[in-house]
Symmetry: C2
Subunit: 234 residues, 2 copies
């Protein structure tokens, strides 16, 4: 993965700058660049919360420097013309597409976010390598700045969820055999058996059981069989 | 797609409720349910911005009612144990996985978000159908409430980016033929030709050119050839 810098161009509200620092750190990004920002005070620090370090280490520089020092520049915009034949004439990409584009870059990628009231100027957009847009509802397409940064960081991070072990095919087969035996125990009719087992396999197949859940089901079946046996003996 | 309701359980800060309304509407969701919320005043309304309608139409009810009236309940949590054998014992899913899970549901899906300070209680998590977690950095995993809602809404909406037409294979072939002819015009040596054309196809192949971009390249080649011709004539 490249070094990713989040660049806020002339942000107007310090709260948004603080929230931006926070959500960046939430997804593992720490390089914040501010181009001609509003004054930053207590509100920014409060909203940055435990990402105050990101805020304090933010670099203030010109957009010129950002372009000069970045290997690849992604400009974000909320106002994408539906056709690429209109003014901008640049194709645009979703955050997930941008992730695929930049993931192999060995260098610096700057992601630009524009002013809260009018975004990035056309001249700023044109100098970037690609334009990124977050698909939104037509009824209210204007995202808060920090929400937009959050979604882009979430996609660029592509962090793994962490994993858990599903029950193995062997464990599942043993469960199905147990259920089949259980159907014997409750005198389930032979002529229905195949279809019932297909249904049970279909249901449990999509349930993505963990090993522990499988062993709990085994336990329940065992306990039920035991009760049936007890009754028979009486 | 099912009807999706965003449920904030005992939110503490009205600003977060307002931002939640806004980001919901940004992604086309309008059903907001509040369980025992903090008082909502000017700050909530200001942050809701053009989603004040979502805020004003928010339904206030008990979690009991939410469970009773929902066909499927997704509980979100930031604190997922890495193993499913620990207390919760429930497997968890990423927002994108939850989208796939619920997309065919013909009914109501409620997505619960917990309190800003301690999330959802275990008892609340356990009654839900699935647990959803947003993968975050271990260094600072706690998302602001409205940022979490934004990312889940973004994924659940799965809105199309809108499309633009790439140049067709026919247009691309015609461009490659033109480039090949151009290489003739600049006396590009035959023995290098095949490798050069492979390289050009490789570069332009991944560039995802639009029709307009292809015709601009044609134009540039035409103009260059014209200049070469002119010089030859002199």
């Amino acid at each position: 993965m490249p070094e990713i810098a989040i660049v806020l161009v002339e942000p107007l509200y310090e709260g948004n700058v603080g929230f931006t620092a926070r959500v960046m750190k939430n997804f593992g990004f720490e390089r914040l660049i501010l181009v001609d920002p509003c004054p930053l005070g207590d509100d920014a620090a409060a909203r940055a919360s435990h990402a105050r370090d990101v805020l304090e280490n933010a670099r203030i520089c010109s957009l010129e420097e950002v372009y000069r020092e970045s290997d690849f520049v992604v400009a974000t915009t909320g106002e994408v013309s539906r056709s690429v034949c209109t003014p901008m004439r640049m194709p645009y990409y979703e955050p997930a597409e941008v992730r695929e584009m930049v993931r192999e870059i060995d260098g610096t990628v700057a992601v630009l976010f524009g002013r809260e009231n009018w975004g990035l100027a056309n001249a700023e957009l044109k100098r970037s390598n690609v334009i990124c847009t977050i698909p939104t509802s037509e009824k209210y397409p204007i995202l808060n700045l920090s929400h937009a940064v959050g979604i882009v960081c979430y996609e660029l991070a592509g962090l793994p969820r962490g994993t858990y072990r599903l029950a193995s095919p062997l464990e599942m087969e043993s469960l199905y055999r147990r259920i089949d035996a259980f159907l014997d125990a409750i005198d389930h009719p032979d002529f229905k058996r195949e279809n019932t087992m297909i249904l049970i396999r279909r249901i449990l197949g999509r349930t993505m059981l963990t090993s522990r859940e499988v062993s709990t089901l085994h336990g329940l079946l065992r306990r039920t069989e035991w009760h049936i046996e007890k009754k028979k003996k009486k």
